[in-house]
Structure formats: structure tokens, C-alpha cells
Symmetry: C2
Subunit: 333 residues, 2 copies
């Protein structure tokens, strides 16, 4: 039994830089046709020159594969002229509320200061991607941020706003309330709740931001994904951290899913008799929302069990993948 997907896309991807980029980019490029690459490097990507050079480094890292890095800028107040100059070389601008996640220290403190930038983005057709969390109690951060999404959607009705890596039933519901709100969801938020992170032993490799929420949240996300809600796209938020940083006291947030994401998605959609909805979820919805025409790339998976490696990489640059050591019943051919 096989399934063939046409140009699968990962619409939220952390590729890092340097040795880590060289390690992880080919693992995404092996099974995806393209990915929306997050700009939260140190320092973040905020200029045309940085966009171009980062794209070159990504292409060099995955030169053995056909793979399109869809580039993003790290949100700052930008001039209209600059956005006009750069718009054909980026796919979106990513907004991080200050200090919320990895390398978001230079993020935005006050949405007011972005007003003219957001107006320019709406006019130029540049989508806004948002890490939507407040600084509140960890289980409430996304729910509290939904009002910000409402305000943005109302104030900028022609701006495409993508709620990144949504984790709550409330965020799913918002998709149907505002025409210009869209979302990505990760693989892991379709599978785990806080119980998996901290309900038994503490599991650092399942620790991410936004943190996995309640069972009813997971159900709502899974239901929307399995039905291929047209405003919902797959975005892995695959976020590699070196093993020694994940397994230390004070472990960093992020789950490395890139090398297993597509196979596990096929398994998940098959378990729920929803295989026919996987193509829109992992590609077609994103094409429609972002007006993308990805490079043609057929990825075929066969129903054949394999064991996920315990680590990828070697030396100091090893990363533990999600589902390390576990079996997945579908394999990329």
C-alpha cells in the first residue's frame, strides 16, 4: 500500500544556521517540496541582504534535494519603500511578541508601533505570521492572545494573518469568525497534551512553546486537520536544539519533528480514515492561502514499519527527534 503526495509543504520551519542548518535542512528537504523558514536567528533576519544570504546558505545545505525555502522577515517597524523592494523575495513577515520563544528577545513590545508597517503589508499583499501568546499563565497565553488576533483581523481586514502553531480549540473556532485569519498547526499538537509532557515523568523532548494544552484542545485541532479545514495548513514548527540543551536542567522549548513529520502524518490520517484529506492539509491549503506554486515533487510513502533513529547528527551537533526509537508504520520511499 502506498500514497503519493504532490509537493508537500511545511509552512512553519526552523532551520537554524551553521552546523545545525547543515544537519537539519536536508532532513526537511528530503520529504518536503518547500518550507516557510522562520527568521529568528541570532541576530534575526531583518534586511534584504540577510534574507538573500540566509536563503543561499539554506540552498547550499540541501543542494542534493529539490527544496524551496520560503523566506520570512523578523517583524520590526519597516518603511513602505523597503517592503516594496523586498516583497518578491519574502513570503511573509513573522511577528514575535517580545521574549516569548527561542531568540525572540528583539521582538515587538507594542503593536501600535507597527501600524504603518501593517498597513503597508496589507497593501503590498505580504502575509503576517504571528506567534500568538501573551506573557500570562502558560496554559492561558494563547487564549489570552485571541483578542489580539480579533483586533488585528478587524483593524487590517485586507491583511492575511496566520495564527502560527495553534494549540487551542478557541483558535480553531476563530478561523471561522474572521475571513482574514488563517492558521498552521504542528504534528505534535495533533498528538500530545500537557499530560504527555508532565503527566507521568517529565519529558523534555516533548516540551515546546506554545506548550501542549488540554485533551479537548487537541481534539479540536485534530478534527480541523483531519477534515482539512481550508484555512488550516501544516507547519511542523520543527525546532532543533542540540541534545545537551534539551536534556539539561532548564531545557529549551522545541520539538524536532522534521525527519519524521510526513510519515507520522500519513500514519495519523490513515488511523482516522482521512488519507484523502492529507494532500490539502500538507500542501493545497498553503498554496491557496499564500498563492504559491511549489516545485513539482512527488513524495511516495509505503506502508512499511521503520524505527525512528535515537539521534540525528554526531559530536556536539546531535539532535533527538520526536518519537526517537519508536516505530512509524509508513515510510518515505
Amino acid at each position: 500500500m502506498t500514497i503519493t503526495l504532490q509537493s508537500p509543504l511545511d509552512m512553519h520551519l526552523h532551520l537554524r544556521d551553521g552546523a545545525m542548518l547543515d544537519l537539519v535542512a536536508p532532513l526537511s528537504a528530503a520529504t518536503f517540496s518547500g518550507g516557510l523558514v522562520m527568521p529568528n536567528l541570532v541576530p534575526p533576519i531583518t534586511t534584504l541582504d540577510e534574507v538573500r544570504r540566509y536563503r543561499e546558505r539554506i540552498l547550499a545545505a540541501c543542494q542534493e534535494h529539490l527544496f524551496t525555502p520560503y523566506m520570512t522577515l523578523f517583524m520590526r517597524p519597516f518603511e513602505h519603500a523597503f517592503l516594496e523592494e523586498i516583497k518578491d523575495e519574502i513570503t511573509a513577515i513573522k511577528l514575535y511578541p517580545e521574549g516569548i520563544t527561542t531568540n525572540a528577545e528583539g521582538g515587538v513590545k507594542n503593536l501600535e508601533e507597527l501600524h504603518s508597517t501593517l498597513e503597508a503589508m496589507a497593501e503590498l499583499g505580504i502575509p503576517l505570521c504571528v506567534h500568538g501568546e501573551t506573557h500570562g499563565f502558560v496554559m492561558d497565553r494563547e487564549a489570552e492572545f485571541l483578542d489580539v488576533y480579533r483586533d488585528l483581523a478587524e483593524q487590517y481586514p485586507t491583511l492575511k494573518i496566520i495564527m502560527e502553531h495553534i494549540t487551542t480549540a478557541g483558535a480553531v473556532a476563530l478561523l471561522d469568525e474572521y475571513e482574514n485569519l488563517y492558521a498552521t498547526v504542528t504534528l505534535h499538537h495533533l498528538l500530545i497534551t500537557l499530560d504527555d509532557v508532565a503527566g507521568g515523568l517529565l519529558r523534555p523532548h516533548l516540551f515546546c512553546k506554545p506548550i501542549a494544552k488540554r485533551p479537548e484542545d487537541r481534539e479540536a485541532l485534530l478534527d480541523a486537520a483531519l477534515h482539512a479545514h481550508p484555512k488550516l495548513m501544516f507547519g511542523s514548527d520543527s525546532a532543533p536544539h542540540p541534545r545537551h540543551k534539551k536534556e539539561a536542567c532548564g531545557c529549551a522549548a522545541g520539538i524536532f519533528t522534521a525527519p519524521i513529520a510526513l510519515a507520522r502524518l500519513v500514519e495519523l490520517f490513515e488511523e482516522h480514515d482521512a488519507l484523502e484529506n492529507l494532500q490539502p492539509f500538507v500542501s493545497d491549503n498553503a498554496r491557496a492561502i499564500y498563492h504559491l506554486t511549489p516545485v513539482a515533487k512527488e513524495i511516495t510513502l509505503i506502508k512499511e514499519s521503520w524505527r525512528v533513529p535515537e539521534i540525528y547528527g554526531s559530536g556536539n551537533e546531535t539532535v533527538v527527534p520526536y518519537l526517537a526509537g519508536e516505530e512509524i508504520s509508513w515510510r518515505v520511499v
Copy 2:
């Protein structure tokens, strides 16, 4: 500035066994007059002989201090005659729902099977201590268990029931609803929420069961403690695990607070202008509830800053304490 406490008591204490017992028991005995010792060894303490021998090992481990280990049995269906024989050598029986916490694999699956035991305990005046969590979603486990407390309190009105290490505002409220319900609360649940465990980086040394809950829960617990609610006792739930088990992937639940608990409590009560309520919270309430007359032991603390050690012990048997490396503004003289 000094404060002197009369025979402080820790009414929920894990002393373990072997080398760990030898390491941690003197640290409790140095600042407390006595402690209610949990029976979840491997195998658990279920016979008179085991109670006696464990008490001997505890006394041997802290022979340099005046310290009373108040012994407990691990809840099983017990005969009336056995309970009558053992009642003068134990202070309570501890009920663990099966598999909920460290070494609770042999715990109780069905409360029905305990009916005659609970009736005998009520008749003989043996208090019941309960780890009150269901197997539900991690943030709901205690809240879901409150109905079990209600049922027990109603079904056994003459049985003293202690809700151990409560973590929710709902459990605090229950104290005023049922005459025969009492509770212990830990130091760490007065200080942390889930935010401290998983809101920034992941903090294994703050991972415990029941897991720290929401800000409003912490507020309710703190308010009850600072006002020395007469049905609330201090119980540290100090739960040492070897460092290598806390800092591994899949870290065990438990926070080691014994060596710093009393000093941090003084600091906390002073911060809130509630020092006059510390004596009932750390001793008098427990004496009244359990009808205890602890050995006379004055513990004096002075307002003088000290730094908590990074670890206690050496070799394989090291334990990282709560607040490792941080300053506490009161010190036991």
C-alpha cells in the same frame, strides 16, 4: 532579629531508605521535632514488623538529633484485629490511588474493597491520609478527586481524613465544607505555579506530583497558610531523588525541600507580615488534629542571609535541593 518555633512538625515527609535515608533524615531532624513519614518504600510498609524496623532505621539515621518519626502504613485492606494491634505504633494510614506517584504501583484500585478497613480505622481513631488525584488530565486530577473526598467524608463521618499536599483552591474550600476533612500543604505549592515548571525553560527540580497549578490556586493555598487555617498543616512532601534521576530525560516527580523548608517558611511568613501564624501552621494545628505531643524542641532562626547549597550528599547519592544556589534571608541558628 530572631524567631523561635516550638517543636515544628513536618506532616508529610519522604525519608526513603538506605544511603538516601542516611543522607536526608538528619537534614529534616536538624530543624523539625518530628515528621509524618510516608510508607511508599519498595516494597511498601504494610506490617507491624516493617513499621518497627523502618522506625529503627530512621532513628539510627538521625541519632544526633531529637526527632520523632511518626510512622504510617501503606493502605491495603487490613483486618480489625491487625489495626488494633498496630494502632499505637502508627499515626496514620496513607492511601495511594494506584500508580499515581513514586512507588505507588501497589496502591488501591477500588475504594469499595477498603470499606471494612475504613470503618475499623474510624472506630480505632486512626487517621486516613490520601494522595488525592485521579488518573485524568494532569491539571484536573486533584479537582476531579474532590468528589472522592466528599464521598469519604460523608460515608465515614468519624474518620479523620487528611487531603495530602493540596494544590487547588477547590481543596482549600472543602476544608470548610466537611468537619472531618483536613489537609497538608507543601512549601513549594505556596510559591510556584505551572509557570515556574514549564512557563520559561523546563525546570525538572520544580517538577512534582501533584503538579503545581494555576496562580489563583497558589493564592488560595497561600492565603489559608498565612492565616493558619486550623485544619491546614505544613507537610513538606520533601521527596529526594538522586540528581541523575532528576536531570535525566523522563525526570521523576518530587522536590527536595527538607533542608530549607523552615527557613523559607519564616521568610515567606515575614514577607506577608504573618509571622505570628507560623507556629500554628508548622506545629500547633498538627498537634490538635493528630492529638500529638511532640518532644519539646525549640528551633530559633535569625534574620541572616545564607546561600542554599547546590547539592547535598556526595558520589551517586547527591540530591539537588529546592532553591539550590539561591539566598534565603533567615537561617536556623
